[in-house]
Amino acid sequence: MRGLQLPLSQTQRIRLQRAFEKLQSLSSKANSDASVTVADTIPVNYEDAFLKGHGTTDLNGELVATVCGVVERINKLVYVRGLRARYKPEVGDIVVGRVVEVAQKRWRLEINFSQDAILMLSSMNMPDGIQRRRTALDELNMRGIFEENDVVCAEVRNFQHDGSLQLQARSQKYGKLEKGQLLIIDPYLVKKSKSHFHHLEQFGIDLILGRNGFIWVGEHVETRDGMVVDQANSSEQSMVLEEKNQTHTPLEMRQNICRIANAVRVLSTLGFSMDADLIMETVELSSSLKIDIHDMIGSEFHVLVAEREAERRSLMGKRRR
């Protein structure tokens, strides 16, 4: 894998190696022998009826893998789960995307998928909150809601018959994201969980783990009614901007945002999957050890986090038994 591009001293390298070995011994090893590379034959019983899934193809009567990955079998379905492909959307996933285009009655968002996703105007709540038909005036004012390069949080609604992806952002928790930063990590690190929105109370920070690998860390916004306010004050937009200029994020909160962002970066470099608890623990580890925010992305902290994770999992394993 992209080897950890960190300058590790000899001791650090050894410690890291040991931590990874420990983790490896604890992890489920079922998959390691089912890995395939491109053009490898997949061992399958040809007499049974089976379904060919993603990442496979039929060559000369044999089932052959087209990506490097792990062979998964679910009932009769045989497919190859690629290790490093782009995001594969599922209906109901929370994703964070960036608007690339404002088109007729829709926005196009880039979500780290092979195509851009579509957010229809009708799938978006109107600023005044009323449920109504979208008029031509609404279409003209689309930029008032989202414009190009805005970061938006939405949910996957469905796949159209032509293969394109549709999103919806009807609930209050979806919408434009401001006052924070966007981090991009590998999509497979974000697992489907009960909640992808995390409001970290003690910091007053919102953490949104998009399943497409886009993570948003920013100031907490009470509800997504911001738009209602803006629309009402559309004539006073300039004043709003000026106010913004003066009211930057306070330093304390910014430091917390940075700490959390760095925790996410460290975890993604090490390849651990993203989970709000894990991120919080990493942040606590760094503050308990009084590590300077900037040093969090140094090699020492990486090694510490790996070691601590190995510890934690071995403890959990023991507790289970």
């Binding site: 390069n149 401001e178 006052k179 900037h294 992305i297």
Partner: protein, 256 residues
């Protein structure tokens, strides 16, 4: 380079004014720098510099050539930078040419000095073999593999490292030649002369965002800048050249 939303831009500017940038560096902190030399065995000297996600390679090739008629006692040095599409798809075709030219010109000025040769980092007279007839032509190539801001600093560091890694083959000149005859030269495969790089400067770019200056901007921060100043400083602490904001502005407009 992906664009940034208004909220994000605001966030970046706020961070810089509060001395806490996106990756939690201070305004005047550099990203960790990694230097590797000798990566291209065929070239006489080469180096790779990684500055965060910015990745550049510099290589030096020396060929024997004829010195310029106007300057018979000096060798020739040419610096050329190439922004490859691997860095960003928009560099494909002519996209990266503007940026490449800007960077090449800036580096030439810094390392080779002005028109009169004042302030040069490399002494061209050290490259001459036989005055008026044979000299070394140095071709310094920079290749940008991955671009995340601050290309000028990274390239200057790479060139300095590559030149320090360069070994010019030793040349034996045949004893006697008359008039305009080309002398015979024997290029040694064994012995190499180390290049003297003590005079080569290091470039530091300061980018202005809002009211403050930051060092080593990432490409997101560069997209927010209003101007930038690049200063090249040599070992003696002399300010060699101050390049104004054009280069960095070119980078910014590319990113935009």
């Amino acid at each position: 380079m992906v664009g940034l939303s208004v909220g994000e831009k605001h966030f970046i500017q706020g961070g810089i004014s509060q001395d806490l940038r996106l990756d939690c560096r201070k305004r005047l902190t550099y990203r960790p720098i990694y230097v590797e030399t000798g990566i291209i065995p065929q070239a006489h000297g080469s180096a790779r510099v990684r500055l965060g996600a910015t990745d550049v390679i510099a290589s030096v090739k020396a060929e024997l050539g004829k010195p310029n008629a106007l300057q018979p006692d000096k060798g020739k040095i040419a610096i050329f930078v190439d922004c490859s599409p691997t860095a960003a798809p928009m560099f494909e075709g002519r996209g990266g040419e503007e940026l490449s030219t800007e960077l090449s010109v800036a580096l030439e000025r810094c390392i080779l000095g002005g028109k009169s040769g004042a302030g040069a980092g490399i002494d061209p007279t050290s490259l001459v073999v036989v005055e008026g007839k044979v000299c070394w032509d140095l071709y310094v190539d920079g290749l940008v593999i991955s671009s995340d801001g601050n290309l000028l600093d990274a390239l200057a560091a790479a060139i300095k490292a590559a030149l320090s890694n360069t070994g010019i083959p030793k040349v034996d000149v045949a004893a006697e030649m008359t008039g305009d005859e080309q002398p015979e030269v024997n290029i040694s495969d064994e012995e190499f002369l180390q290049f003297d790089t003590s005079g080569i400067p290091v470039i530091v770019t300061l980018t202005k965002v809002g009211k403050q200056y930051i060092v080593d901007a990432t490409s997101e921060e560069e997209s927010q800048m209003t101007s930038a100043v690049s200063v090249s400083v040599n070992r003696k602490g002399h300010l060699i050249n101050k390049l104004d904001s054009e280069i960095a502005a070119a980078e910014a407009s590319e990113e935009e």
